[in-house]
């Protein structure tokens, strides 16, 4: 047998087929044995008992535009608590005739976020677009120039506030967390001890207490007459809190880097800063994308804790409608709406992270 014969000996063989069609799949996977069959039937029964009544309540009997009084007569879900109050829920106390401004700002933000999920658009132009976009969003919300009436920040509420707190909180916390992780590995004892202290102190207290401190205690330390905006203070608390968690995750990534990578970079003559920026961090940060995104997702949800310092984020504006006598008692609908809203945010983040991981994978 020569080389060609040897190579082509089994050229016609195809991998064996294990599943045939939908029925075959159902048979092998759902009714593969008596235990599997019983479990399948049991789960179907539970689904029937729960999902069917829920769908009947939510969709078939659901009311979308009725008044509160009409809703109370009906057995179905009262989605009109959301539909009829949508402007207050989304925009809160922002002046009614100016709602287009936060709306435009949010659309701009979504547009930028959407484009940013594609690795191939990551270039200088996108960085400039973000810079310009942030200025435009700021002007839209704050006003006071270009003929836009000024809106005090006390009126910023609803979904724009939630997005403001989370988008800025997360984007500022991430680089701070990376710096802290590097600080914790530093050769300089002062920087290392400071980083460790910071991380351990912040991780040792709940976010709620940080928020309280930022709103109640922090102003006491300021010189008289200096007032720092309440939203900004909450924002700081969220950033400081999230950064400590990011730092620990990033530290894990740094520790996973083989010594050889540092040595190869140093042997080329790269200094510490370039070694980190060009060789170590790109790899270490990629390894820790999944746990990082978990932290970002929980930080996003935690922004709703600002209700305790009387900021009206979208959770609070929705709850506020429940206090209205007309809509009292429709809390299931309100919270389902919130759950869907938060789910969309969290799901987008995890979708983004999976795309990013795929784009950054080169091996094989």
């Amino acid at each position: 047998m020569d080389a060609a014969d040897l190579k082509n000996r089994f050229a016609d063989m195809k991998p064996p087929r294990t599943r045939v069609g939908v029925l075959g799949w159902i048979r092998t996977n759902l009714f593969g044995g008596w235990l599997s069959s019983i479990l399948t039937l049991l789960i179907l029964f539970v689904l029937y008992k729960t999902a069917v009544p829920f769908l009947k309540w939510a969709l078939i009997d659901g009311l979308w535009t009725a008044t509160g009084a009409q809703c109370k007569e009906s057995p179905g879900a009262c989605w009109s608590i959301i539909v009829r109050n949508i402007r207050f829920i989304i925009f809160g106390f922002f002046p009614l005739d100016q709602h287009w401004r936060p709306l435009a700002a949010m659309l701009l933000l979504f547009g930028l976020l959407f484009v940013s999920q594609y690795r191939r658009f990551w270039n200088r132009r996108l960085a400039w677009a973000w810079g310009a976009g942030l200025v435009v969003m700021g002007v839209l919300l704050k006003g006071g120039i270009l003929g836009l009436p000024a809106v005090e920040t006390e009126k910023w509420s609803g979904l724009p506030l939630t997005l403001l707190l989370s988008v800025f909180g997360l984007t500022a916390a991430y680089p701070l967390g990376v710096l802290l992780a590097l600080g914790r590995q530093s050769n300089m004892p002062f920087i290392r001890i400071l980083s460790v202290l910071y991380i351990e102190l912040i991780r040792g207290v709940p976010l709620i207490s940080l928020l309280f401190m930022s709103s109640v205690m922090f102003p006491l330390f300021l010189p008289e007459g200096v007032v720092i905006n309440k939203i900004l203070r909450a924002q700081m608390a969220i950033i400081l809190f999230t950064a400590a968690y990011i730092a620990e995750v990033v530290r894990g990534g740094l520790q996973a880097m083989p010594r050889g990578q540092y040595e190869a970079a140093e042997a080329l003559g790269l200094n510490y800063y370039l070694t980190m920026r060009l060789v170590i961090l790109p790899q270490a940060l990629k390894i820790v994308i999944p746990p990082t995104v978990s932290i970002l997702i929980s930080a996003f949800k935690d922004t709703s804790l600002v209700v305790i310092i009387a900021l009206y984020d979208v959770l609070k504006t929705t709850q506020a409608r429940l206090a209205d006598p007309e809509w009292m008692g429709f809390s299931s609908e309100a919270y389902i709406f919130l759950a869907v809203l938060y789910f969309l945010g969290c799901f987008s983040m995890s979708h983004f992270s999976r795309r990013l991981e795929r784009d950054l994978t080169h091996e094989h």
């Binding site: 083989p258 050889g260 990578q261 040595e263 190869a264 970079a265 140093e266 042997a267 080329l268 003559g269 790269l270 200094n271 370039l274 060009l278 060789v279 790109p282 790899q283 990629k286 950054l360 080169h362 091996e363 094989h364």
Partner: protein, 250 residues
């Protein structure tokens, strides 16, 4: 031995001692390397060969003695260290390519960021060196897509891109499958013919015989014996050397 003349040595190591904690890993090394000289270092595992060449570009620090590379003394001064590292290329046993960068980017990184070469120029030079190690067609792949022998040739090209005055090799073929050793040795022999100064830790005695000016035998952190390859292999003087040679040549 045409190269060993009266010019100042490019590397001068005097009375070098190093400890890992209490462990005295280098015990009084003296070594002068002239420009264009090719030195092969061999010796049993754990004898301090890697540590010695890693001291030359300060991947390890030393506690006693001095190392001067191209007129720059290695001290704790980070500027000196970076200057020496830029002049000294290093090839590792496990290649240590940067897996997140393409082959071309791996090569151009040092010139662009350390030498401040314009990107286009650095990439042209990178392609030149890739051709030299016979691997230009892989320029846009990532290290993980290459075989071990190919990766090691890329690693050699990456060092060459910095136009180093000295090349250090730490067992460059000992992590390779047998059929890939040859392609890497061929590239190294080609470099030797171009007259670059080389310090090579290896047990490839064929390579030592054909390119080395001097072979050093190390044991217990000391240079036990050094000689021209012919005399080293045919007339070893020390019992340790004889024992070692009998072990690796059979």
């Amino acid at each position: 031995m045409d190269q060993t003349g009266d010019t100042a040595p490019i590397i001068r190591i005097q009375g070098l001692h190093k400890w890992f904690g209490d462990f005295h890993v280098l015990q009084g090394i003296d070594l002068d390397v002239t420009k264009g000289e090719r030195i092969v270092i061999c010796g049993p595992s754990g004898s301090g060969k890697s540590t010695l060449i890693r001291c030359i570009n300060r991947l390890e620090d030393h506690q006693k003695g001095s190392i001067v590379v191209d007129g720059i003394e290695l001290t704790t001064d980070i500027k000196n260290i970076e200057a020496v590292r830029a002049e000294v290329g290093m090839v590792f046993q496990h290649f240590n390519l940067f897996p997140h960068l393409t082959i071309l980017e791996n090569l151009a990184l040092g010139p662009i960021w350390v030498r401040k070469t314009p990107k286009k120029e650095a990439e042209e030079a990178a392609m030149y060196f890739l051709e030299k190690v016979h691997i230009a067609e892989q320029a846009y792949k990532y290290p993980g897509q290459l075989s071990g022998g190919q990766q090691q040739r890329v690693a050699i090209a990456r060092s060459l891109c910095m136009k180093p005055k000295v090349m250090l090799f730490d067992e460059p073929t000992s992590a390779l499958d047998p059929e890939m050793v040859k392609e890497v040795l061929e590239v190294m022999i080609q470099l030797a013919q171009e007259g670059i100064t080389m310090l090579v830790v290896t047990h490839e005695m064929g390579f030592a015989k054909s390119v080395a000016h001097r072979v050093l035998f190390m044991d217990f952190g000391q240079v036990v014996e050094q000689n021209t390859p012919v005399d080293f292999f045919d007339h070893p003087r020390h019992e340790r050397t004889k024992l070692f040679l009998s072990q690796i040549l059979h």
